[in-house]
Subunit: 356 residues, 4 copies
């Protein structure tokens, strides 16, 4: 019953197998091997266009270095108030840009509100040195709270970016889960909707360590080799990054794994919705489930070995949570099984001794 995070899982057997398969022999270091090149081309096929691909070690690095690629002196990016960029990266975007600000923008259900976004950008007029220079907008797909942007919603955001001349970054730490939920192609998810640069995550969906910055706008790729190096994120044995992605894409493994995780999340949501002891905070089409319960239930579940976290209440959701209640997050992943879900459901509905 381990729902703490999708990064508590290990690596999918086919990823592990790929690592072993590429352990032999010599290959050029620092991303210049044939294996690297081959996988970069594979990215191009998946996205149906030329892309520049840069492997990095962590999602935080992918996001922070993407911000660095877009940054300008006095630069300000705009992201959702509860975005990973703002609340969970320990200042790395500020350090690796360096010095950029990430301006928080409100919006319910984890999505940037277009009007709020436009208003926020307007508070930083271009060429007004005291404010600084807007330099990027970042959205997360799926969002921090398991929701997704529909195509039209991304279009709306990217139209605002276009109006203000700003590149659009997508934090795709859970890109595969969003894609599986939306049923769109990688291209439809990104550059066809105006996304300029993407943090493409593999780690949470079955790799052990495979993240890539995928750049659609060549201007943003120009300095990236140096931006990555000065962030200490160019790996000598980059072939092992490439190897993971090779296996990840083969036979659509990534889609299979993400779809599985989403299905598990759906079943978990059904169980919660039917329970007397918790309720869904909101629907999630991806692999993060948010449930509201009272603290005694939470404590009972934890004591019984269920792994999941209390979560910071999103600003828009304050009204949803009653007194003595708290909001919790449960994450499914490639390694989540139907048994985990059933076991949790059974535990949830089992009356605690205190309630008898």
């Amino acid at each position: 019953m381990q729902f703490s995070s999708d990064n508590w899982a290990g690596a999918h057997p086919r990823i592990a197998e790929a690592l072993t398969r590429h352990a032999d022999g010599f290959a050029q270091a620092y991303g210049l091997s044939e294996q690297d090149r081959k996988v970069e081309q594979r990215f191009g096929e998946l996205f149906e266009r030329d892309v520049a691909v840069f492997f990095v070690g962590t999602g935080t690095a992918a996001n922070s270095i993407s911000m660095a690629a877009a940054n300008r002196p006095g630069g300000v990016a705009f992201a959702h108030r509860e975005a990973h960029l703002i609340e969970d990266e320990g200042g790395a975007p500020q350090m690796l840009t360096p010095g950029a600000r990430i301006e928080p923008v409100d919006g319910d259900h984890g999505r940037l509100d277009p009007e709020e976004l436009d208003a926020a950008i307007r508070r930083f007029p271009a060429q007004f040195i005291h404010a600084g220079q807007p330099m990027a907008v970042s959205i997360s797909q799926s969002t921090e709270i398991g929701t997704v942007y529909e195509a039209a919603q991304v279009d709306e955001i990217s139209e605002i970016c276009r109006l203000h001349g700003l590149p659009l970054h997508m934090d795709g730490a859970r890109f595969a889960n969003a894609m599986a939920a939306l049923g769109q192609s990688p291209a439809e998810m990104t550059w066809k909707r105006g996304v300029d640069i993407l943090s493409f995550g593999g780690t949470k969906n079955g790799c052990w360590c495979a993240e890539a910055i995928v750049v659609f706008n060549p201007d943003l790729a120009r300095d990236l080799p140096f931006l990555r190096k000065r962030s200490a994120h160019i790996f000598s044995k980059s072939r092992f990054m490439a190897a993971q992605f090779e296996a990840y894409f083969e036979d659509d493994l990534w889609v299979t794994l993400a779809s599985h995780a989403n299905t598990m999340a759906k079943e978990l949501q059904t169980a919660i919705a039917e329970s007397q002891h918790a309720r869904l905070a909101w629907e999630s089409p991806a692999n993060e489930v948010f449930a509201i319960m009272d603290r005694s239930t939470f404590d009972r579940l934890q004591a019984a070995g269920a792994g999941f976290y209390e979560w910071k209440t999103p600003h828009f959701a304050k009204q949803l949570i009653g007194e003595n209640e708290l909001i919790t997050r449960l994450v499914t992943g490639f390694a989540t099984t139907r048994d985990h879900v059933r076991e949790f459901a059974a535990l949830l509905d089992q009356d605690s001794p205190a309630n008898l």
Copy 2:
């Protein structure tokens, strides 16, 4: 005949096997799993004392974050003029400290000259704000050019550090090779000689990606979790770092691999010393061999498929190199075989068509 770098090799089978072995199941993310803890303890046993251990993804990260741990406002570290910190890390130490200077200090054979070091530090008197504050000394063991510091030489450096109140950092990207060459224990290599913080490299010696910052001085460890996070170098599935180190240390695999690489380097040096077409630039007890040859020989070898690089001439070595000559670096590793060496030796001594 691949001597380009020790990071052109892949992963040792026992490392690959460990990655597969730990691919199953759930474990706490971000360095908090039992597996992480177990390996941290293993480091303590190896170093015969309490240590704080922080895994990071690259040697550049290990060095840069170590500098960050020692940094003070206006901080200045002192390193060899041709140290990796200065010439090969693309500004990462400056970015991740951030803002520190690394002052180059001369010394022959890749080692800091103690007198030069002392004189360099004295140019930055403590509390003289215009100069800034000395904050650390860094030495590489083995050095960038395959030499090592003898115990007495480290003692001499650390005595200067003590006098000036500066922590001593050791860049141990090739720690195992130095250890095998010197026949000292990890403790004798480091804290028993006054080393406060160590970049401990596993990648070049058979891991795919395993670097650790090992901290002997607890003051330097205090902020390290945050310094690592803001550098985007805390890995979610840290268990795989731990897994590599576990296998690395088991049955002294690391010593075996490093000894092998050093032996190969020794045999390669013998071949070069006996050759008519090249000569050794200097003796190297570790796994990097430096040979002087003329450009036609270099070109002939390259054309025949020998993988090795022309190298920047160290400042102290300008006199060693004649006109039309260049200095080259050949690196051996765990995957280098006697056949590679023999093949290279044969190729080297084979007269080139142009010479017949």
Copy 3:
């Protein structure tokens, strides 16, 4: 009719005279002269305790270097959403800390809402590396919109700081205006209420360039000489900074000037309140007046030579402003005369040709 900003004025005659008086002779550079020392002591007398004083060239420097003094790795400060630190310093706090985040906190009338502040801090739990470390709270006195914190309001904020172990910074770019409005002593305004470090502004109130960081908590002063130097803000001929402050404090010139500016603001507010063509957005006891008017009035006034700016609508004030209306800022200063105010009042009430 120049109400654009209090920094459009020049220097008060007594400030100019002090600069001339100290132009002769030799004095130790970089803040070490007797003149510097004497003025530092004068600060101590005014604040009724030992203080450390650091002159810098701009208010942005004072704020940014104060943040640097409080910063910790991954550091997060908390300030009002429309604070100068967030909206008007072009990223300098992020650059000079470097890398800190300034988290925006809501509150009406330009003041931090204590509950919002407490909730915001709680989103960054100490020792949770992914969020980073809270490191300071900053309030502006007077605020960006001409309001002030009453004593009890500062107490409430500083109590929250104490609970979370955070230093409290006060941006006192208009400290004198706030003091004149509140009738408190410098000590009552600051350390007696828990303020640890103060940006003390002289420039807007009659100096040409005189800003000081005043530190009450000695821990925050320790690194400040280096933090200032590395920000390029230690002035060689610091004696001229000291000279300005000497004249500024003599015979309470600063209080006289600030009181005058506040009185002018009061009269301007009366004129606006009585006008048919504009209304006060809110009461301001200090020297910044905010008026709501329609655009035709604004354009008419501008065309007639009145100097004042349209202002970004504060988030709390969106409801106050009707369609076709805008919010404007008018600032008074030591150089504002009653005639300026009367002339503006007359102009305001004069019906525009369009309205006849």
Copy 4:
């Protein structure tokens, strides 16, 4: 007998008078006033071409922000080993670029050696990410040790810059002294020799606080308004900067003052050369004099009230200094009088009691 530094003097009466003259009235803040514009045009006339001018508060800011204007990701600038940029700016260039490295290059008499410069740049090959990117060369005119670059010497340096595609920065903290010594025009000193960006100092030569970044290459000016703002170096009452420069240029005051300082230095050098108790370290055509003496003489002079400093021995000069000897720096300025020089000469030649 005050020769400690040219920044121990105050302000020339005509500078002080200009500050008073501009104290009245209102003017647009932040460098946008007519007075600012007028003085910017005056710079253009002096340099015989269009220039972009940015006032900043300190020489350290002028140098650091100039470096920021030239910086690229992983950027490396090249400067003389004992340049102010390297030894006396407390890390500000690293902080405000941010993250750039300043690579030290040798050369005797305070001047970059062209061959050493070329070799140093070649150690950082463009597009080799591990090294980083060369981004600028900086020379000081006059140098840190009172010498100057002759026209042909600047040509040689700028030719190397051109070859490597690097902009050339000139640290002109003592530009006027160099110009007076060389008898060249401002244009001949700079852009006609390939200088792209200049730190133009007024403070050491009679202003109280007036430094300017003068940009000849428009590409380097583009981001400068933001680079200055984020460094907290845009002054609200910028008109007072402009006022100082206006007086500084009027009737060639700056040339008169610098020539006077140089003449005083010449006379001081004559006195030292003729003395039994000290000797010149080298000839200085500008306003800094370096004398070698034994410590007892140094102590005697200090005890008698002569103000001057022991100086760090330049690397090239180690051989010049005997045992028990030290090198000292004496600086003349606009406020140095012939009496100061005579008094020092008399004191120097007066046998100390200990020697009788």
